[in-house]
Symmetry: C2
Subunit: 467 residues, 2 copies
């Protein structure tokens, strides 16, 4: 089967106009009310009507479910994605209204601009439309496909675990295929063999009972904003390596083979820096930029809040820290290491408290030799005409993959057709137009490969039903 | 003249009910519209009707003016104060509604609670009421008294200089007496012989063009929030001494005599710390807490803003710094020293900008032997029955005193009856009830002393009019 031998794909214009409807629903899970989330879920469920699409309640925002069942011997895949989107951030940083889907040309490429188009509305809709087209033209899918599209991914999927546990039988499968989890770059087909874990926390430094006049009390008491700065400055060494004892427990240096492999990735540090608007790349000494991104854990200060532009000694200063984890790092132990570090470096005149956030996700990995990775490589190779498939890492965190492994015993293959340079979570999020048809072709090929032949999925011993 | 020999003072209840009206006008110069500021000014002008009280426009909020002219040979004093107040800050930190004047008992003392009651509505109204009572009962004031009550003190008096320059003739005087500028503590009458100068600035650290996903970009670029923390942590040594070359230029150590004098001030560090809710006092090594407060300059971080509690590498981090100056420190040179320090400690991967605020105020000093200080000491001694009068420093900044010295050639005597422990600029601002009558008695005595006898004010050679 080659690019021209598959089914007839729906016209791009028609898909884009449907995507415009989908993007116009501002399903920001961090701030939207239930009404708009329900409306978005129902919109998506209608697109899945060919497979019994429906909205099911959870303790939080609802999920969209659907399934098309092939014969009893067919492998079973669960397609995962999400219909919620990130907040817009500052509107004045958007070139176009975030919930209007706008076609544009950027750096010579046709793109669609809008919040959620890349993460994850575009990548979800293209597999939905592919399944619909396959059924319409072929009358069947090559394997059993279940859909589970959630509405809380951008807030850490707080109710997904309970929902999956309650519907273990219905959701059981041989493989999860995630339409979320961007590929590395458009020029180079890639598969992610890992995603980073996450643990985050607030560091709160307190001084006096209330803000103090910076003149009338200046020089007499410790300033929590200064104390917090000292604490934060001590978390890393000059190169950005984390300076917290125990932080790197469970982290192995990349193997010589992996370093060679990463060294061969086309990556221009100057272009990368220029694209982001920074004077240069920066980070932990001894590793290349891509090695740091893919193989090394980080501890980022994501925010600091204290006082303001008025003449006080603030009574409180708060920082939020977010650690991305790799390898065998234990989120609880990492949080404990940061707490211990701060406790062992106390500052006079203030008190310091660390409040660790509830969500704690270990790093996720799928073996590079896993049959799904091999099948996906073939599928990408097919669409991208022999380009070598890069084994990359999602430096973000996808807690659902850990959850599916624990609850369903199934590994997750990341198979999204967004790429990580498309302003995910930032203003001016975009998706490259040609990725829509490319993605549909790749899904079509992948399903065929997993259904039959040398790459046929093996039955997950923990799969329930269809005994 | 003793405490019982002066005029009959208006009943406290009646003054308090008038103060309740005054406090109910929320004249927050940082945020209020012109209407409420005008209304407040008019309210105060009506209280000054006995001396031609009126509201006069400036380029910003209006001033309140009034004057009562004694004979051509009488000394002339200009009473300065302000009718604007600080923002309330967080309402949930107030025990009572900030614009309702509430009588209460705190630590055994009767107090009035409300925004502006101590800074500066109470101290202004008491001298207004004293002048009114003197005129009603004696038919004259002992000297010529001019009133200038502004509406922009809490935002740095941005339009006062232009107004004073335009009205130099009308405002000229032998001495400015400020009803603003709190005394040290209620138990101990005090006069301030200095106030600290001020220069403030923003430090802005920029990284990428927009916030970046903390996973998908973590480890590849410098984090502006971390870079700012490193910069801020480097501004002081461990004890809180400013670590910026040139910062202390123009600062002399307090003389041995001054250190002995300060050492005799009743001051319990543990009580002070407990009162503020801090574990201990803190500051520059080699100086006592009161020496640091009165004799040493400070560089406080008054605020930090960057990112938030979401998973980004912030693209910008901003701190606001406020330096309080003493002695001969030059505000421009201090700002330049901080800029140079940051420039000489550059951080990779980010850019740093320092934006110095327009308001730059050198420290102010009046000689301890100035006739006004001696007269004020006698007046306080009279009311407080022989208590030793402490020569203190206003660790805050009163730019008007520098302005009056330059524009009118007149020194400023600080003669307020608030004290610096009354939560000025903070929630639950209060004024001690007994200070109202004490203050009125002290003003009465002070005016008499300055008008005649050994403490009679000398004519200011730069005074205009009444040749």
């Amino acid at each position: 089967m080659s690019d021209t031998q598959g089914i007839q794909l729906p016209a791009l214009d028609e898909i884009v106009s449907q995507l415009a409807e989908y993007v116009s629903l501002p399903s920001i899970s961090r701030s939207a009310g239930i009404d708009i989330m329900q409306e978005t879920a129902e919109w998506l469920a209608r697109r899945l009507a060919f497979a019994g699409g429906r909205v099911e309640p959870t303790e939080g925002f609802p999920v969209v479910r659907a399934e098309w069942t092939a014969g009893p011997d067919a492998p079973v895949v669960l397609v995962y994605g999400h219909y919620d989107v990130q907040p817009t951030g500052r509107l004045d940083e958007w070139a176009t209204p975030p919930f209007d889907l706008v076609a544009d040309v950027r750096a010579g490429e046709e793109v669609l601009l809008g919040r959620g188009i890349s993460d994850d509305k575009g990548p979800v809709l293209l597999v939905v439309r592919l399944a619909e087209a396959l059924l319409a033209q072929v009358g069947a899918l090559p394997l059993t496909v279940k859909f589970l599209i959630e509405g809380e991914e951008e807030i850490g999927s707080p109710h997904l675990a309970a929902y999956v546990a309650e519907h273990q039988m219905d959701l059981s499968c041989d493989l999860v295929i995630s339409a979320d989890g961007a590929q590395w770059r458009p020029g180079e087909p890639s598969l992610s063999v890992a995603s980073k874990g996450l643990v985050s926390m607030d560091v709160v430094v307190r001084g006096a009972d209330s803000d103090l006049h910076s003149g009338r009390f200046g020089g007499t008491v410790a300033n929590p904003a200064r104390a917090l700065s000292v604490l934060l400055a001590g978390l890393h060494d000059e190169s950005g390596r984390v300076n917290v004892a125990g932080f790197y427990d469970g982290v192995d240096d990349p193997s010589p083979e992996r370093r060679v492999e990463i060294g061969h990735v086309r990556f221009d540090e100057d272009d990368y820096a220029a694209g982001l608007g920074v004077p240069c790349v920066y980070g932990e000494a001894g590793f290349s930029t891509l090695e740091r991104l893919w193989e090394r854990p980080t501890l980022e200060i994501t925010g600091i809040t204290s006082g303001g532009k008025y003449s006080v000694i603030p009574h409180i200063a708060t920082a939020h820290l977010s650690a991305r984890l790799v390898g065998q790092q234990d989120p609880d132990l990492v949080a404990a290491a940061v707490e211990r570090h701060l406790r062992e470096h106390p500052l006079a005149g203030v008190t310091t408290e660390v409040i660790v956030d509830a969500a704690r996700v270990p790093a996720y990995r799928i073996d590079a030799e896993h049959p799904a990775i091999r099948a996906a490589s073939v599928a990408l190779n097919h669409v991208y005409r022999g380009e070598n498939v890069l084994l990359a890492v999602i430096a973000g965190t996808l807690p659902a993959s850990t959850l599916f492994e624990q609850a369903l015993g199934a590994k997750t293959l990341f198979f999204s057709f967004s790429t990580s340079d498309e302003n995910l979570h930032a203003p001016n999020e975009f998706l490259r137009l040609n990725r829509i048809h490319e993605g549909m072709r790749a899904w079509e090929r992948l399903w065929c490969l997993l259904a039959d032949g040398p790459h046929r999925l093996e039955r997950n011993p923990r799969r329930l039903g269809h005994p």
